[in-house]
Amino acid sequence: MNILSEQLILTALKHVIDPEIGINIVDLGLIYDVKLDAGNVYIKMTMTTPGCPLHESIAKGAEEAVRQLQGIESVKVDLVWDPPWTPDRISNWAKKQLGWR
């Protein structure tokens, strides 16, 4: 049940797209952790660059996207810089979108 719901949260997070790169935050590998506890959601995420000017909107966007799911009581988004994001976290699909062959 929890696994499926966490999967659902990740699906919701895929609707949050980095407007500069054009890739969703899950495939960019920005989501470090998603926890669900009786309707309370905890998301640990990062940005590609510390001080990224989009960090506020993307983090808030993540919160809003999850909040729209049915049965959600609260959402906490933790923006962390450690461990720093690395390009290895980008999914294969996203790599293709970025022009990798």
Binding site: P19, E20, I21, T49, A65, Q68, S74, V77, I90, L98
Partner: protein
């Protein structure tokens, strides 16, 4: 409703949209106006560089276009680069109007070569004051920085050079009104231009590039020693130029600067090689071409300072060099970065709180990429065309090139207008 996880998102250093927008709009209008004026007076873009219309064009380009954009962009980028908020938004806001008044006065005084009376001296004084306001604002913001990285080192050097350039400009402005400098005015003008181009512009361009290029291309696995080497060589070179100026002894400092510029190019190659984002959008294509013009400008600079070419040819090369730096390196990079920064600014202002709730546009959808591409190619046809025309001393070729650049500037202005007026 239970809420075990609260208070999550860190406070951002939100950029002051209205202030930055003013800088960008004024600079874009200046750029189009400059190109229109150059088109109407293209016959003046030849011959000896110390002539009223050329000095007017050059100051409109460096002050009204390039430095205006950089001042606005720094207000926007300080939170990104330094990860702290700007010391004073009010200084950025009011500094703009003083700076604009100074630019208009300087440019119009050069245009009419109105050196009698204190007009030129007051204009240079206003510009100096406006620069000091900017330097104080950036300097006091820097106080909050805990550690120095490559970008911050470049910005510190850049604002030091900007202060020196403005101070020499002030002395030259006073000297034109009330001659007091013993020796050749042009000798000081050379120092003013060199520190402006090699000190202020190259340091700010390089520093900001080291932050923005990896961010936009998703490049994180490159070595930074070429960048640091370039920083050391260029600063040593500028210092050498100052010593040469003071002692009148040739130290061949330009060799250090030219080598430094090539090290910068190598650093850019490393960043581009390591990028995850292979496809380049219109903004990044501009930037890449701008970086390509840097070694060209460096070689031209080396040719001017190190070789014993015929004085008449040298004069042509000086013009080509100045044009290449202003339109090849600086303008291309500024336009490229504006295609990245301006859509973001407007997007942030209009759509930031809609993310996750409704579909929001991508940044590249905020303007016409087709027009951007056309504008890019026109600019890259126009710039080499003018360079060739200046070398051949063919006014028709120069005029054709400037017409192409003017059309390109109109297309760029249209794209910026589309972004700024987006509903």
């Amino acid at each position: 409703m239970s809420a075990p996880f609260q208070g999550s998102i860190t406070t951002p250093y939100t950029p002051p949209f209205k202030v930055v927008r003013q800088y960008f709009i004024i600079a874009t209008i200046t750029f189009i106006f400059l190109n229109g004026l150059m088109l109407m007076s293209s016959r003046y873009i030849s011959g000896f560089h110390f002539q009223p219309r050329l000095l007017s064009f050059a100051h409109m380009a460096v002050l009204g276009w390039a430095t205006m954009i950089i001042r606005g962009a720094m207000t926007q980028l300080i939170p990104v680069i330094l990860e702290t908020s700007l010391y004073s938004v009010r200084l950025a806001k009011w500094g703009l109007w003083l700076y604009l008044a100074a630019v208009i006065t300087i440019v119009s005084h050069f245009w009419f070569f109105a050196i009698k009376g204190g007009g030129m001296a007051s204009a240079a004084g206003m510009a100096f004051l406006a620069v000091i306001i900017f330097v104080i604002n950036v300097g006091l913001t820097m106080r909050k920085v805990k550690s120095i990285n490559i970008t911050i080192a470049h910005i510190i050097a850049a604002i030091v050079y900007l202060t020196v350039v403005a101070a020499i400009g002030l002395l030259l402005g006073i000297n034109l009104s009330i001659p007091f400098i013993k020796g050749d005015h042009l000798h000081y003008l050379g120092l003013h231009a060199t520190i402006g181009f090699v000190g202020w512009f190259s340091m700010i361009i390089m520093g900001v590039s080291y932050k923005l290029l990896p961010m936009f291309t998703l490049s994180y696995t490159y070595k930074t020693w070429p960048g640091w080497t370039a920083f050391g060589l260029i600063n040593l070179g500028v210092l050498g130029i100052v010593v040469e100026f003071l002692t009148n002894r040739p130290l061949y400092s330009s060799v250090l600067i030219v080598t430094g510029m090539f090290m910068f190019s190598y650093q850019i190659i490393l960043i581009m090689k390591g990028r995850m984002r292979k496809a380049l959008d219109v903004g990044l294509r501009h930037a890449v071409f701008a970086y390509g013009y840097i070694p060209v400008a460096a070689l031209l600079g080396g040719l001017i300072t190190l070789s014993n070419i015929n004085p008449e040819i040298k004069q042509r090369v000086i013009l080509i060099y100045g044009f290449t730096v202003l339109f090849g390196c600086i303008t291309l990079l500024i336009i490229g970065m504006m295609y990245k920064i301006v859509p973001f600014l407007v997007w942030f202002h209009k759509y930031s709180d809609k993310v996750g709730k409704e579909k929001v546009p991508m940044l590249k959808e905020m303007f016409s990429e087709r027009i951007g591409n056309l504008q890019f190619w026109l600019l890259n046809i126009g710039v080499p065309d003018v360079m060739a025309g200046l070398f051949l001393q063919n006014q028709t070729v120069v005029a054709i090139g400037i017409t192409i650049i003017f059309i390109s500037s109109l297309l760029f202005g249209y794209n910026m207008f589309t972004v700024f007026t987006r509903k």
